[in-house]
């Protein structure tokens, strides 16, 4: 199913490390209402996750981050105002920002500079986007939980606006430079996330919402009118929600759940893998 990473020790013996994934593979999300597996390609895309408290947003974010953490061709930047939702992946990530708006701003500015440099590089190479097995450019997954904390809760108004603007730039221009933004927030209304930013997210996931209009805010205007409303999802069924990905029409999916122990085990494994690769500069990937 996936390539097995092989490390070479100093005396030139190959040690198989374990299976890895690729961020260029579609990410397994869960099953649809007909029992079929649902996978979503995330490279060159952005995902917006909404839904009422407890609807399973962080669980989906964890599923995405788990895939990315196991993909050695992807780097992670995590922003989690609650700290615990993505905290397990801290050791796999290049950067982890807790509930601190200045730190978040600093990280996003650095990412913006990185993005500009990547475009300089791509321009020099006469290329238009990152490709699998790119030698110098690895995709970045920016996972953002509790978006509203940074964009509408703490800090000064100017800072919060700067946060939204930086993120909008990353979402708008980052696609070809391999920057994937996955953001989760409870109700992405215009006071939380500017409409100009919200509409840039191609892919949406709406966990249960309390009203039809909340569901429309996540999925796009008029979806409730067409019969797609996350209001009909049972409140006792966290992880179920409407997903808009390929195909464009929403589909009802249930997100696969990683419990805390599994998450921790995967995170530890991924961290070990990443450390090994970082210390041994020439890992070979055997099919």
């Amino acid at each position: 199913m996936s390539p097995v990473l092989v490390a070479t020790t100093p005396d030139d013996t190959a040690v198989p490390l374990g299976p890895t994934l690729s961020i260029f593979d579609p990410v397994y999300i869960g099953i649809d209402e007909f029992g079929h597996p649902v996978t979503v390609p995330l490279i060159y895309r952005n995902l917006l996750i909404g839904g009422e408290p407890g609807s399973g947003k962080s669980a989906l974010l964890n599923a995405v981050v788990a895939h990315a953490a196991l993909s050695l061709d992807c780097r992670l930047c995590l922003l989690d105002a609650k700290r615990v939702e993505l905290g397990q992946w801290r050791r796999c990530a290049d950067a982890f920002v807790g509930p601190s708006l200045p730190d978040a701003l600093a990280l996003l500015s650095r990412l913006q500079i990185m993005m500009d440099r990547r475009y300089d590089y791509l321009e020099e190479c006469e290329r238009r986007k990152v490709v699998p097995d790119d030698r110098y450019i690895t995709p970045y997954l920016i996972a953002l939980d509790e978006f509203a904390y940074y964009s509408a809760t703490v800090g000064k108004k100017a800072q919060r606006e700067e946060f939204s603007e930086l993120l909008r730039d990353l979402v708008a221009r980052g696609r070809a430079a391999g920057i994937i933004v996955v953001a989760a927030t409870q109700r992405p209304s215009s006071d939380i996330i500017p409409t100009s930013l919200r509409d840039l997210f191609a892919w949406r996931f709406a966990g249960r919402c309390t009203t039809d209009s909340s569901s429309d805010i996540v999925l796009g205007h008029g979806k409730a009118q067409q019969g797609w409303t996350a209001n009909t999802i049972s409140p006792t069924n966290p992880g179920a929600g409407l997903l808009i990905a390929e195909g464009g029409t929403p589909q009802l999916v249930k997100v696969a759940y990683l419990d805390d122990a599994t998450c921790a085990a995967i995170a530890r494994y991924a961290a070990t893998l990443r450390n090994t690769v970082a210390s041994k500069p020439q890992p070979r990937v055997a099919a």
């Binding site: 099953i31 029992g35 599923a63 809760t153 009802l252 494994y269």
Partner: protein, 285 residues
């Protein structure tokens, strides 16, 4: 539904309320008669004129035209009835099997043997869970086809002021899904998907389902739509991620740390001093 007013308004009778369906079929029958009889008649006459005397050829053409035109007109006129028969044909076949099968069996063997066989079959159907589920699932598909037709007829009637020419869609095929049923429908001129938008609630009600979804089924044909009916929730259980299996072998390697370096102090409200130091406004909205 349509059988009652099969034969259209009689000549000379002026109807106040226009019975659109039967009148249109009477008109169609007339058109079919003239079209078929003239085409067949003229071509027969033309071809036979090569071999026969022209008068004979014309007579032959008239006869052939009548012979073909009258059945065509009758079929068109009776089309509403034939259509209903077609709609119920599957059920009719099943009933025929259920009634005739045991009778035939009793005739061929001993009646008691036939009775035993029928009872055994019924027992298997009722008691074996997979068989029962299969039967129930496919029975719902039969029911849903009829309910959908009723529903579409209703949609057409309610939009009759806008387009009186709409034709009932063809219900193509229905099959069970873990959640309910999935039906493919071929829309005919006068209806499109936007007519059905916002009617999903009505569709669900008339199909006795929990929810209905109507999506376009083919990028090529706007007429082909798919109706998904949901009556069960297959998403209620927890789905395990394949990633857990993927790295299963390292799962038990070490226990998750339970107590981090932080001492568990100050976790109750009583442990927090009454007037807290100046802090940014935290928490959620």
């Amino acid at each position: 539904m349509l059988g009652g007013r099969l034969f259209g308004p009689r000549p000379g009778v002026i109807t106040v309320v226009d019975p659109p369906v039967s009148a249109s079929y009477a008109r169609k029958a007339r058109v079919a008669f003239f079209a078929v009889s003239s085409v067949v008649g003229v071509s027969t006459a033309a071809v036979s004129a090569v071999f026969l005397h022209p008068v004979l050829a014309v007579a032959l053409g008239v006869v052939a035209g009548l012979v073909c035109g009258v059945p065509a007109a009758l079929v068109t006129l009776a089309w509403p009835v034939l259509r209903v028969l077609w709609w119920w044909s599957f059920e009719a076949v099943i009933v025929a099997f259920v009634v005739l099968g045991p009778a035939l069996l009793a005739d061929l063997t001993h009646p008691l043997l036939a009775l035993g066989f029928v009872l055994a079959l019924a027992g298997v159907c009722a008691l074996a869970r997979p068989v029962r589920c299969w039967l129930v699932a496919w029975s719902w598909c039969l029911v849903v086809r009829h309910r959908l037709r009723v529903c579409f007829a209703d949609v057409i009637r309610s939009s009759a002021t806008r387009n009186r020419s709409a034709v009932l869609p063809l219900i193509l095929w229905a099959r069970p899904t873990p959640a309910g049923e999935r039906v493919w429908v071929w829309l005919r001129p006068g209806l499109d998907q936007s007519d059905l938008e916002g009617k999903t609630g009505k569709v669900a009600v008339s199909c006795w389902a929990g929810e209905a979804r109507i999506v376009r089924a083919s990028p090529r044909f706007a007429a082909l739509v798919r109706v998904d009916l949901t009556r069960r929730d297959p998403l209620a259980g927890t789905i395990a991620s394949p990633l857990a299996v993927f790295i299963g072998h390292i799962r038990n390697e070490a226990a998750t740390p339970v107590s981090p370096a932080v001492p568990p102090v100050g976790l109750d409200l009583a442990d927090v001093p009454e007037v807290p130091a100046e802090q940014p406004r935290g928490g959620r909205r």
